[in-house]
Symmetry: C2
Subunit: 450 residues, 2 copies
Amino acid sequence: MEFIAENPSLEDFRKLIELKEVDKLNDLLTEMHSADIAELMDKLEPEEADYIFSIMDPDNSAEVLLELDEDLRESILSNLSPEEIADELDELSSDDAADIISELPQNIKHEVIQEIEDEDFAKDVIELLRYDHQTAGGLMAKEFIKVNENWPVVDCTKEMRHQAQNVKKVHAIYVVDDNDKLVGRLSLRSLLTTNLRSPVKDVYIKDVKSVKVDTEDVEVARIMQKYDLEAIPVLDELGTLVGIVTIDDIVDVIKDEADKDYQMAAGISQDVEADDTIFQLTKARFPWLFLALLGSLVVVKVSGSFDAALDKFPVLFFFTPLIAAMAGNVGVQSSAIIVQGLANNSLSGSLFNRLLKEFSLSLMNGMVLALLLMLSSYFLIGADFTVAITVSIALISVIVIASLIGTFVPITLNKYGIDPALATGPFITTSNDILGILIYFSIAKLILGF
Amino acid sequence: MEFIAENPSLEDFRKLIELKEVDKLNDLLTEMHSADIAELMDKLEPEEADYIFSIMDPDNSAEVLLELDEDLRESILSNLSPEEIADELDELSSDDAADIISELPQNIKHEVIQEIEDEDFAKDVIELLRYDHQTAGGLMAKEFIKVNENWPVVDCTKEMRHQAQNVKKVHAIYVVDDNDKLVGRLSLRSLLTTNLRSPVKDVYIKDVKSVKVDTEDVEVARIMQKYDLEAIPVLDELGTLVGIVTIDDIVDVIKDEADKDYQMAAGISQDVEADDTIFQLTKARFPWLFLALLGSLVVVKVSGSFDAALDKFPVLFFFTPLIAAMAGNVGVQSSAIIVQGLANNSLSGSLFNRLLKEFSLSLMNGMVLALLLMLSSYFLIGADFTVAITVSIALISVIVIASLIGTFVPITLNKYGIDPALATGPFITTSNDILGILIYFSIAKLILGF
């Protein structure tokens, strides 16, 4: 098989799978990182991916399982018996195992847990399954290194070496008292630089940030970012150290949160990916379109109610999409800045001051844009001068009001515990369309008197 | 001063500053984390923040400086002499020092560098300043621990302890050959579990991911996320180990990138925050509004060119904002999914297949929405049946075409090295408005024959 280069292509793998070249495939797979194998499997056809998984060394397959796309993982797990699943989980850390179990169908969950051989591990997994996904408890792992404050460092190292065998990555060493209450941490740096004969009591750092099991995931992310932490200990209601949350989970939380805001701004109501099925994508996109259609029907109704203008000033109706578009754009700009400010916890000052600032800002932008609109509608579109003036005055009003709504709505949503990102999507665009058209025609009626 | 509780409020600090209670303030500040002090200073008036900074223990002030909002940092540094700035930098790691220097006015940069006492540190900083901000070189720190593969582990530990004194956080220990070329890494875990008498050669892990100094920051972030790394070594053109990028910098890159996409989708053209000045905010928001206005003027012109319809079918003009809004919403939905797929590197299949999928998807959504529109415009708005049919057919066409554009544009932008997120903002909304209205009236003309 001379065509297998240093970096085998997707097609190379396809060919090897077709020819069932188990040995050659295994040679290639053992050289690959589990994340790369998962990426390969995601790109292959489901049956090909199944085949790859079936021939893989059991020591590696668990890690690969973890990295797979959720849909493919589900399909691969559905081919395994509870015992086989439990064997895979044994290779993982408790939080990863709990994540995978939580995705399983309800009736299989219990069977899988019963098949886990290591009893301590099974207990850890059961404990983790109790916590809400979006809390520190749901994110934490049970694998960490802890030492008692009353031990001498020299005893600790032995104990740490023993504990480290069960921990994939050592982030920090936590110090507890005799009641398992967290009292501080030993840094790895100090471990490298400290005299091993000193007692733990003398060398540990007392100032240690921690979270509770029920702290929300975004709050854990905020704390870890603020204090530049790579791991944070998690305490139960009594202050007992029960787990740690590590930075890799937090990176996922940050990315998911950003993706969610972005999708909400784009009017996508569920967490979807480009490679999901047409049905899933349709379902995620229809709801907002439906609401936008309803809102737009109100706009149609509002326009229609000003049909008296049709006789004398039909040109007014050419401008309705412009007014609606500007209202939408301005509203989204304002609310996006507020949503980011809320997410970063960087919003200061009172609501009144913020609205005042937004008012000045939008008035400035509005006046420049209105001047441009006046000139171009008079000279380029050939509208009457009075119509040009009317349209421009309406534009300023619409811009100012849309930007105030864009500021007010997300702050208010947030105050009542609703995700403010909701305000950046079709919701605000559609409301601003309705209001914009209403203001536009009302001002026109006032000035032109139709 | 009995009013100082466990958690002093902003007002408590204000009062203490006003009374110039240096000792009491210092007692409070020494108990606080630098990130909390920075947060406090960001909330105070500039003069109050200056005062806090001036009384702070010099050992802590450098860390606080680093955590401050850029504007406030600039204002505080402008009150310091180059020598004083250099003294602050001495307390920081090389990458943080380089970041702060790069923000200084050109004429002060050199003076500050010359005032740095530690020559090795100054050299490191100068080297880091050479690299582009948005590359691995621009993100990396020069502080890391490396050992020679030919040393025995027992010698290493001594050397490591020595090196660890200059490193704030130990992420990994890198193994180099006699030419300083990276050959592998020693995990901290293995260091805890390995017999110290073994030679480094026998225990180090050969499989180590690395990046080049000129690797783009988003690519570094992608690699570190994919392989769950907390630090990655950076090599120069010759393969020499020159620095490491750590996960805390990557968290910032991920957040900045997400913020950028979000702001672009919201039509904000510069990285601004809610607390920036009105002028900065106006500048960041005006450009897209200006473009949206231009695009909307084209929409007005297009509407106007179909004024023949005004006599017989004026109701058609009530629907233009609806058509424009639906085209905009659908286009943004499509492009947002593509932009996220591109960002996550999860987009598979050919452009043709993707367009085909989008076609079926939008056709499904479009047909349901068009049916709803037909019914409501006939029964609720009271439009003619032929008009209701016309508007509905136009809606399907507009939805399908807008979604194809929303798919095609970001993929094409990305192909030519332009940020695809550009396609989710006012750019695609405005183009879809124009095209939508054109299609709408063309179909109406075809069916109704005005």
